[in-house]
Symmetry: C2
Subunit: 388 residues, 2 copies
């Protein structure tokens, strides 16, 4: 096991009906920004419950955060927050709204120029005077409700950049499984795929003498495989929905990666596909991950074989055979959720994508990806082309 520091201060309030507890968790005497997305919360009862929790507080609303939240939109919320002297952000939504809230938390009092510089210069950790935030989760997927990470896109430059800072952990996050029943099936599939791939990024590297972290990762993968299809079939199954929700949160709250190497190359490449073609984040991961494992098979085959045994219960075969089977099972699982795993299923314009991705990486001075930097730009090109 490698050395690590782990600390996650977010308070999780989990359970059927837990949105009704919102009021008692909100700070008293602070001006609150209610931040949300396209307005689906107005159709599923969440908005009304949140308003009920806010009724004794002073608050303003900012809506319209889109999937892959855009800097341009977020900055309008920042302007409003400055004008209204917002002191606390309540993000009601999925990962996009929560990620937007984190950037706003840093940007509201930022006075050293354009807040976009925080991302370009990777200075999120240095920002002082951060507005505290909390969340009501409406789409289990990204884990943003219990971590300090955020990914923001900029329309004008087609960039998609991430940041992380301790100051961005939500103070609290409310996880109410009843929200799942009104999520469209394709978004539930995205959520399962996203959470699943988050685990793979922290698990499918090389053996590192960390059996507990491995088993925790396998636990989440197995639970998603068992509970995911139940949620797809019946999103109103509150038990399955709750288990899916808790898996997605645990998949990316820092616990799995404590003491082990991580990959994250699938995310890095996937982000470019979203930036270029607007493909849903989770689907870009399902396109890239299997081919990435094929491309750096030798480096990852020991963990792939372990994954085959422990998660897919493959009992026999050589390490190579098991490892290959694990990749096939993973692809089959994505397909079973209705997730297509070829770039050509999402765009007819895929020729030249590999060069485009490389150009963008070079521009940002990215030379290699993955654990031990095993994925150089040649490999990136190969992986993207395998994914056409």
């Amino acid at each position: 096991m490698e050395r690590f520091t782990f600390q996650n201060p977010t308070r999780i309030i989990f359970g059927v009906g837990s949105i009704k507890e919102l009021e008692k968790h909100l700070p008293i005497g602070k001006k609150i920004l209610l931040l949300y997305g396209g307005g689906s919360i107005k159709n599923n009862g969440v908005y009304d419950q949140v308003l009920s929790g806010l009724k004794s507080r002073s608050f303003v609303e900012f809506a319209g955060i889109e999937p892959n939240p855009k800097y341009e939109t977020i900055m309008k919320g920042v302007e409003l927050s400055r004008k209204e002297k917002v002191e606390f952000i309540l993000a009601v939504g999925g990962g996009s709204v929560i990620d937007a809230a984190k950037f706003m938390a840093l940007a509201i009092h930022y006075n050293e120029g354009d807040p976009w510089d925080i991302l370009v210069n990777n200075t999120a950790k240095k920002v002082e005077n951060v507005v505290p935030l909390a969340t009501v989760l409406t789409l289990p997927a990204t884990g943003s409700e219990m971590n300090a990470y955020s990914v923001i896109s900029r329309e004008s430059t087609k960039e998609k950049l991430s940041f992380g800072a301790r100051s961005c952990y939500p103070v609290f996050s409310i996880l109410d499984p009843t929200v799942v029943k009104s999520i469209p099936p394709n978004q539930i599939a995205n959520g399962i795929t996203d959470a699943f791939t988050h685990v793979l990024e922290q698990y499918l590297t090389y053996p590192a003498g960390a059996p507990l972290q491995d088993k925790f990762a396998e636990s989440i993968l197995r639970t998603l495989i068992e509970e995911g299809p139940k949620v797809m079939k019946n999103p109103g199954d509150e038990v399955a929905a709750g288990n899916f929700m808790w898996c997605a949160t645990m998949a990316l709250n820092g616990l799995l990666s404590a003491g082990v190497p991580t990959d994250w190359a699938t995310h890095a490449i996937g982000h470019e596909l979203t930036a270029l073609y607007g493909i849903d984040h989770a689907r870009t991961l399902a396109i890239i991950a299997p081919n990435l494992y094929r491309s750096v098979f030798d480096a990852k085959k020991e963990k792939l074989a372990q994954y085959a045994e422990e998660v897919w219960k493959v009992g026999s075969g050589s390490v190579d055979e098991k490892a290959k089977l694990a990749i096939e099972r993973t692809t089959d699982f994505f397909h079973s959720l209705g997730i297509k795993t070829k770039l050509s299923a999402y765009t007819t314009n895929y020729e030249g994508t590999s060069e485009e991705v490389l150009t963008r990486f070079k521009k940002r001075n990215v030379k290699s990806l993955g654990e031990n930097n095993i994925i150089d730009l040649e490999k990136v090109k190969e992986i993207v082309e395998m994914s056409y």
Copy 2:
């Protein structure tokens, strides 16, 4: 899954050599109390490393915290802390020293009478003005380094009482696997048994629709079964020692119990055996747990059978057969660590123990124990007598 709130603010600093990082985590400008036990840290190099971390800070020492830390001893430390105006406690030791630090944290500024009342009246959560504490763990076992619980004994009344309060989470805990190599084998065995039983208390109840929590519990149990014997054989195996250490911490930091029923009757009965005969805490758990499972077999057999399948890899048999086998395997595991599982192995004076335990429970108005209160006083009597 049941509703839950989960929040654990403790910062974990894990790794070989991490004690050397102590200084940068200590508060600046606060008077620190260095708290430790019988002085074994002076023989294994930990004391010197800690002093090195404290060299730029103002501190006083208080030593002599014993196993099953005694109120009478702790209050001497409280007196010193008041006199020296201590503002931060650094507990260097195992669960006993850390538990003592938590009680001191509450007691130092307590001015509403005898601090023992905090335990008797269960008012730890109401205590304001709590002295912050941190730990350097020297014995993986209790999980106290990442939770808010503490158990204190009072010699004069042979009482052993527990408390918990959010204010008692350590600010940080340093987990350096190198400390394990100087722990005597019987204490390593105790630590493994203690951590193992902590998991069982949160796992062996009834199916509650919480597969992720179940799998996390099974992950810790399996890791302890795999790594425990390695540590027993070679405490200098830093990889195995680190895995054991991380298991013990994760076994009782609130994660496993989030959303599921818990038992804790083994602990409640076990505490009485320690209070009566001074038997090591972990050994009392190994004495009681198997007989408790036999006594309320029907209520627990579904989870016992699951435990047999997932942890002990029992492939065939009826639910009853698997469940019984799980109990036997558990006892065998304790024996393999050198832990005896009969009260008569620890005291010749065991006759009448069941009545004594009942008298003590009645005095404290304890009427039943376990999930759903399935263990009434008649059952307690039966369990204790089965354990002779």
